[in-house]
Symmetry: D3
Subunit: 308 residues, 6 copies
């Protein structure tokens, strides 16, 4: 095959042949857990942790699969190796795993495959989408839509029943098309965006919402580890919107862009309105660790974008 | 084509060719709204109302499509006509509509179709699944998993971000494999099951949870209308679990089975533990309206089931 | 005196001499209740009801004053008569009453006047501020700041401890300088803006949030009465943001502008995005009642504004 | 000028000339932030921290002023120096700063000064009000009125929208005219009184409600520092009413009286019903630090009071 | 037997021999449901309704007994007949029913009687306790202790797990030894006292908290019926403390005293501070119905009380 | 006396003569605080701590008794000595203390004893009830009934107003007669069962819900101390149901059985479904401490039970 491959239920198929039945429970009731990993220079970053978290999500979702960690790692490596070789030098891959609860027995009829649907696929990381935000910082807006409470879905289960994220994005982008949504929980505490963890620097301390209330992000872990290496104290506590307004810096952590500066929240400038020194410090340390200048890899795409 | 057809993005395709891209936002973040209609003697029941509710859900989901009510009705009629002709005489069809937010631009790459994915398909109603419960009544258990609060998703939008329903079912079936989950809201009030509205008879009055907190079910509307014709007073109010224990009857309304008696809740017998007179009265009236003996259509399948 | 007068603690003083001590409890802890009335053709509108509500707010605030309804009416009439005569023909007055809890004994020292401070004053209604919004409708945004819960302050007491309104306005105007803030309560239900009640038309019915949760606005009462006269059914129920998105119309009622169309909420168009027929109908009826073309009085000021 | 001065918008004016316009937003909507500092032997105590907190409150209130920390300190020192020289030897000053959001544009008309109103003034600390309570301890009662939730106003912003404090005091004093109100939050946890932080000694540990839920009091900071110097462990945790009933001691910290013993809560004796040893220890340490016998300064005023 | 009798587990025993084992689950975990009925001229008032409510409470408590309504009525009549004959002419009886869940199997050992303990007994109504309050009205105080939420115990089950009532009374009586506790729910809405329902007259309408949140009191039903006969409109809605402060009247309904005027709430006078005309009207109607001057029967006992 | 004795209000009486009046406030409103201690080889375990907690509960319940710690200890020792001598060698005693608020004055009439009722009694520990669960682990189910919130009753007061526990057990046992109820609080966090604290091992750490939300169990303290001796880290944090599903082990601590393994929660297997190594380690350490093989003492009773 000359194009990228997708792993689907035991087979490696060309991407253009990778489909889900319309009867799949992933489609019918959003019963899907997922993971996203990325590569640096075509090598996966902390892949093992991502696979472990996938296994944990499956357990929380009460979905049992036959593949273990070893098999999942092997499939992942194989996809990265094949699909990575098709990329340009300056590009890197995002690797997605997802598992659904199988097909809906009544919709699918006798042919329904009720065992879990397991899929892994890749895509070139869309650096051009992040390029300008990486330079100038992103604007976060808190929508009226709130994060799901833990009595409904445990925040540590990375699943795809995320219509509320879709609505949250629509809501904030009606006010600012470039903004991202920062979701509050039902008590008004900051949680996360639909794709990233939130972190801030205040009085010289790196602060995160409590882990029990958010996804246990692997990029978040990385950021905290790097901060500790750099001698920065880290703590978890409830963050209110007003607490951000006089923070020194805020940023997001996520698999794709690693770290993204936040320079405005609900129209209020954070710090001096520019990506801050700790952000730069951490992205530099991260870059050293992985042998890729992360900042450059993303921001150089800004040149090819149309002027805004 | 000799088998059933599926409408998918403007085309009528054979069911075995109806797939979603793994990059579809319906798969990626559960961004799908849906409807389910049924036929009686192969004629759709209140199809227009279902299509109107689909349009309303799309509006709440901020998804815009090019098809209007008229087109959606035409597609529906065509599918029912073709696929219905393939069924046995005693069978009827379920008709599903669903619309996703389109494909994920970064995952799908240049080929991504970012306009909404529109699909309609049918399946034979699985009467055999309901046959024994229709005779003896269903056991509802309230799981620890709670219904999504309206600050996250509006209960009137029929969407498919329903992992919490999946978990609720798994939870209650670990205690009783035949039970269905009756979800409570965050205040402990009764809401609905994952596929049906809840109704009860108490002191001679038909009672439902307040409409603002539940799906505006079309079978629920039908049941209320029939009850009113039969001279039964209907009211809406918050229902607590304990309120069910001394109700005269309880039942569920849903597109597929119309009405289903509830004879046990959390292990406690409701009424005298048998499907009650109002249930029978309503299902009889409904049967007359549609020219199908609903009770017989479902319960006669019990004979072909293995002994439990 | 050639300029406007202000009533202050028993005296009529020139406006430029009307001050509060910096030790006044109104300043020190926001312990002030208030009212706002307006005139049509220099005659006060439902003044008696405003004065009655002031008395009721004083009772809720546990502030006792020596003036009764009769005296308050006399003062009001006198101010309107004198100050109204200074206005241009096309102008009208806003009349403010406020009462504070007196002066802070320790701050003020021996000279402190600890009996309530009573004040009434007027100002020309700022039609030019509303002119463009009256034509095209206002954009409401729901801020993260929430309305005070009734366990803190009863919503029927019109008081001036309203820093949260100040913050709410600042927050939404950071996103859209022309928007006004629509506050939600702690359950995510729509309440009111900082100066107006919210109303909407849905399925042909005029709907308001429940009176128990909002200010008992006198313009709201007027709107409801006019609607009833026009044969429009009125009801109260909890309104969620999503309920507005498919309403036919929405508008605000407030003393100054009477009714103001709402054509966008959180960036989503309401109805067809223009002031609707019921809005126009009600404002027309209102105009007839008071002998002033309210719409014209306000919108004609748009001509004198700089182009936006 | 022979009497005390007040700083008001750039000028030093005699106290009797210090007024606010009735159109000031501080009066119109309680949009004021504030600070209170005190002197010992006419020298300000931790003035710099108070000024820093004022700046922080301004930031949270989104009010910008032209004066920086240096200018605010200079104004403060000047007022203390001048006004302090007018006091008797045994007296000390309270110094108030407050900043409003400026004047209301429509009410004030063309003459409205819409830039912030900045004011600083002093008053002799009213020791006679605290004298008997300092000797025997204060009685705290929890009113039905609850503290404002952080979704409405951030507890770290010291503002004057405090009508609920006014009502809370009225409510408890209807039951006991000498009692002060101890406000609970919406979960029933202890927060603070209208003018002081709450602290208690339990099992030998000094305990405060969590800082995130209360004002970051500078007297509270002082008390904690002194306690630590005295080898007393300090911790923060949620305090319920019942937790106080078997505490060894409870006290309040506030700028004016520094520390005040609490000997009764809702009619229940705390500890042995007398000011306790830790209270005495801390007030003694504090007295040493500032060179004033705080206990004596306050309690000697009891002699001049009428017998109760 | 010359003294009063008690019904206990099938036997009529002299009152001095009526005991519960210390192992009874009523004692061990408060697993008791109960009823209280009263007589007028030694005839029971609405006894049948009380017995029906007892049966309903048993159902909610999942306790099954062998006695039906008929047997319970017979036992009750017998007790009233015998014990009533021992009373003075001006006295009347309170009749108590209670049923426990039986004895604790492990504590009681082999001898444990695990079937329900059923008891009925009487006592002379303590009119002297109510005499002064009936004349001048009672003072209600809202304690910090809140009513149990319905997620813990359904308010319609009259049970004896009421330690929180005991604490509520202790709390308010520490502030005013003559006050009774009016409990708020967790949202701050008025519910009931530990022994009576709350009612108020406002704008000429009789108002009660919603039935779903309180005990379905039989005296409350009586009061509502009498009011309706007297042409007074009745409605149910959430009542906040502040709503009482400007009510015309407030009163309590309870089996023993029928109606009791409330003239002060949290130290604030209700209405004009005296028992009001509607209270007098209703008690008069009630007296006619039962052939006893209820007001006289209670208040004449005030004469024999020591002067307060 | 040849049988066991009971302490009751100052006397040692034969167990068969130990009764409570039906007018006791313990019976009338569940106003009882209590303790349970056990013996090992007829010697009480941490009796002093139990008595201290009883005193603390009395203080929270505002019940004052004349007996101090010393007298309570003496009574306890005497009961254990006498009643313990009547037991078989392999048996041990449970010792119960309880104190009620005295008798109800109106129900009891002139003879009512309104001072607290104080009682202490013993019973042979019912090892046979725990034997099979000790071997295979217990199944916990979370009922819809929730734990009382701290605004109603403080969790540290061990009282007997526990109807909700009775209902919780009934609810879960309707689904599985062998299951015990694990109560959630109103936020959905795990609290405790009706008679035991909950603990779990996760990632090698021993975790408990926060002490502020549960009974301060003395067996819990023991388990934590033993764990610390064994080098196991202990921490407190909110536990959600889903957090248990991938714990390594879970167990309950309670006076009677010391520790009890939990192997299923809501039908989901915990760990590998068997009592785990930490459970065994702790029970072994505990056994050494008290000189009794706790596991054997309980499980050997399984032999004498009928086959299930």
């Amino acid at each position: 095959v000359s194009g990228p491959l997708v792993y689907l239920n035991g087979l490696m198929v060309p991407a253009y042949e990778a489909h889900l039945a319309i009867y799949d429970l992933g489609v019918v009731m959003g019963a899907i857990v997922t993971e996203q990993t990325r590569t640096f220079r075509k090598k996966p970053f902390r892949l093992e942790e991502h696979v472990e978290r996938l296994i944990r999500s499956l357990q929380l979702a009460r979905i049992e699969i036959r593949l273990g960690k070893k098999e999942l790692l092997a499939i992942s490596e194989k996809l990265i190796s094949h699909n990575g070789s098709l990329l340009a030098a300056e590009d890197d891959l995002g690797l997605i795993h997802f598992v659904t609860a199988g097909q809906h027995a009544a919709y699918g009829g006798e042919a329904a495959r009720t065992t879990p649907t397991i899929c892994a696929h890749t895509f070139p990381l869309p650096f051009e989408r992040w390029a300008r935000k990486m330079e100038s910082g992103v604007h976060l807006i808190t929508p009226a839509v709130r994060q799901l409470p833990p009595e409904c879905l445990h925040p540590h289960m990375k699943c795809r029943s995320r219509m509320h994220y879709f609505l949250a994005e629509k809501e904030v982008q009606a006010n600012d098309p470039d903004a991202w949504a920062l979701l509050l929980d039902q008590d008004g505490n900051v949680t996360e965006t639909n794709a990233a963890n939130f972190l801030m620097m205040k009085n010289g301390v790196l602060i995160s919402p409590p882990l029990a209330k958010i996804l246990d992000g692997i990029s978040r872990r990385t950021a905290i580890e790097l901060a500790r290496h750099a001698g920065i104290v880290f703590t978890e506590k409830d963050i209110r919107l007003d607490d951000i307004s006089n923070a020194e810096e805020a940023f997001l952590s996520s698999t794709g862009f690693c770290l993204m500066p936040v320079t405005k929240v609900n129209g209020v400038t954070v710090g001096d309105g520019k990506p801050g020194p700790i952000f730069h410090r951490l992205i530099e340390l991260w870059s050293k660790n992985v042998g890729v200048d992360i900042w450059n890899q993303i921001t150089q795409r800004a040149k090819s974008l149309p002027r805004s």
